[in-house]
Symmetry: C2
Subunit: 372 residues, 2 copies
């Protein structure tokens, strides 16, 4: 048994090459299953691995169907960052779902079931995984329903989890109209966590209010900083999660939190700022440019990277399993995802499709069906 | 009994005014003492309170001696940051030392002793403090010896303390040729902590090597990044303390740590970077410009503010007292400070003296003797 698998390869000549390879599908061991991958999303976190630092606007295509091959140049000054993966033909695709078509001796109960899995190499027709890593979908859920079971749902749950772990009581979230952002709105509503949603348009603001968001501020408005300060003051948020990364937004959130803390402190002047710890985690890089901080937020602040696997390692498998089970239970409600387009593996490498998902637009998302 | 006290006042008209006021000296309560302040240093952390956002290059002076008055404009766009202190005539001076000239009933044993104190308003001829806050100097130590007992020594000790608390094993330090940096070199040598010193000239490098520094890298050299990576690899440093704040240095330290971690990881490609947590704390602002991060250091990183009083609150009074006692014991060795110039309170407000200490040059430091 074999199947197509997408590969991404950084070459010595300074180009990146994407192709489809026909690879053997490993037979399942006793505790494993083979999933026929019928639905796998393209997340911003996949795009980093797919394209690395290559300039996809300069990509050229040869062949078609199974033999399609895309080549794009990596700008000279960004090649150093690609060095660790040079010459390695890498599979990609963080997560996906489909029917179990083969099962090892101890996993026969999963045969024919729709399961979701997380662990890379999902841009492929078949994927062999440990049965323990296959999350069974509830009756009635399709592969498309289950495709995005992990990255967004667990990240959103990880945000409220981090909030509790680090003794905060409310959150700020940027790029809040994303699929993930919509899940976070629903989680926070269900769990009574005050949430400040930062969006970039009236349409995004309406979308979030329609699903129950209370605090929505628009960074494209001249009143943005005042609106943010008001919302942070109302909610008492001292923790933010930023999907943007580049530019001034992380610093603006810290500044708003500091102004809110100073007001709460009664206005007495403290030369080093408030003693309230203010934290922002950058968990995405929609803007890959530099992060700029003016440090106008006292001394009690932190900025850091936040990565789902590191968070899961910190809380341990029992807590992770609780998160997974909640996702499975609520896959058609809280954790429902919306896609703009469904494409095949070969379509995924067409320049016009690449241009679509490489925009990483907040509310545009592509689903891949490798067996289409 | 009264004495002169320096005051700094941000006025409604957009100017900052510095002056000397003659103020009554509070009689000591049972648990208090009055110190005749004979030596108090001008630290970078004092300058922020002294001048706020005022443009001191445009300062004008009226009067002389006790009636000297300095007025400087606050640029329009920086006035918002000064709003919380508008109209408040504030004393300044974080620390200092001198002879106990009056003592309450329970503090008579300190009469005539040289003590050091921390707690603001030390740019004054007399200062009444709690006896518990007066750190008695060992025999033979002068007020000048004890003047800088707190800010630099406790900050330097706080760096190695933070290192242990957060499970790091080596440090990177910027502006490393400062008085504080020299203390840190001696502490790390005594306590066997590997330390990477970042300096900005050959002279600074020599100064540190002469007192026993092993790893010294010069950020003014073209080979800086390579040198930093080599030193971070050698020491295994995953924690940095940055006195500069603005610019790219904090990010460069994180980048060097990430390269070192990736090498240690054996070179296997990890798309999200190493899982080694890399941390830099900004504890000063020698460069008040924005901090710029290119985020080329994976996802396991943190940047934050570090402030001595917050650190002391975290570790609690018993640990703080251990630090204080170590400082007193080693005040003439590990914690010895060097001053370029000693001035009076009135001299401190002369434009040419302001120009000297407002440069915040790494190895130039002014001591004030309010009773000169």
């Amino acid at each position: 048994m074999d199947g197509l698998q997408l590969r991404t390869l950084a070459k010595d000549d300074g180009t990146l090459e994407l192709s489809l390879e026909r690879v053997p599908v490993p037979e399942p061991k006793d505790d494993e299953v083979v999933i026929r991958v019928d639905a796998t999303p393209i997340n911003p976190s996949d795009i980093g691995l797919l394209f690395g630092a290559a300039d996809m606007s300069k990509a050229t295509v040869t062949g078609s169907g199974e033999s399609i091959k895309v080549t794009a140049p990596v700008p000279e000054n960004l090649r150093r960052a690609m060095a660790p993966r040079l010459g390695q033909s890498l599979p990609a695709g963080n997560e996906g779902a489909g029917e179990v078509v083969k099962a090892g001796a101890n996993a026969k109960h999963l045969l024919g079931k729709i399961v979701a899995a997380f662990g890379g190499a999902m841009y492929a027709q078949y994927r062999t995984v440990r049965a323990a890593d296959a999350l069974e979908m509830p009756p009635g859920a399709t592969a498309a329903d289950g495709a995005s079971c992990f990255v967004n749902p667990l990240t959103a749950l990880g945000m409220t989890g981090t909030m509790r772990l680090e003794n905060h009581t409310a959150l700020v979230h940027t790029a809040a109209a994303s699929n993930l952002g919509q899940m976070l709105v629903k989680i926070c509503k269900a769990d009574s966590v005050p949430l400040v949603n930062v969006v970039r348009s009236d349409a995004q603001a309406k979308l979030l209010r329609d699903i129950g968001a209370v605090h929505v501020v628009d960074s494209s408005k001249p009143s943005f900083m005042d609106d943010l300060i008001a919302a942070v003051t109302d909610t008492g948020a001292t923790l933010g999660f930023d999907a943007i990364g580049g530019g001034r937004i992380a610093g603006q959130i810290l500044t708003a939190m500091e102004v809110a803390a100073a007001r709460k402190g009664g206005g007495a002047f403290n030369r080093y700022g408030s003693s309230t710890h203010k934290q922002v985690y950058i968990y995405g890089g929609l803007d890959t440019g530099p992060t700029e901080l003016n440090r106008a937020f006292g001394m009690a602040w932190g900025l850091g990277g936040w990565l789902l696997p590191l968070y899961m390692a910190k809380i341990g498998p029992a807590e992770v399993d609780k998160m997974r089970q909640r996702v499975a239970r609520e896959i058609k409600t809280t954790f429902a995802s919306h896609y703009t387009k469904t494409v095949s593996l070969a379509d995924m490498l067409k320049p016009e499709v690449i241009a679509l998902y490489n925009r990483r637009a907040t509310n545009e998302k592509v689903l891949v069906n490798p067996n289409a």
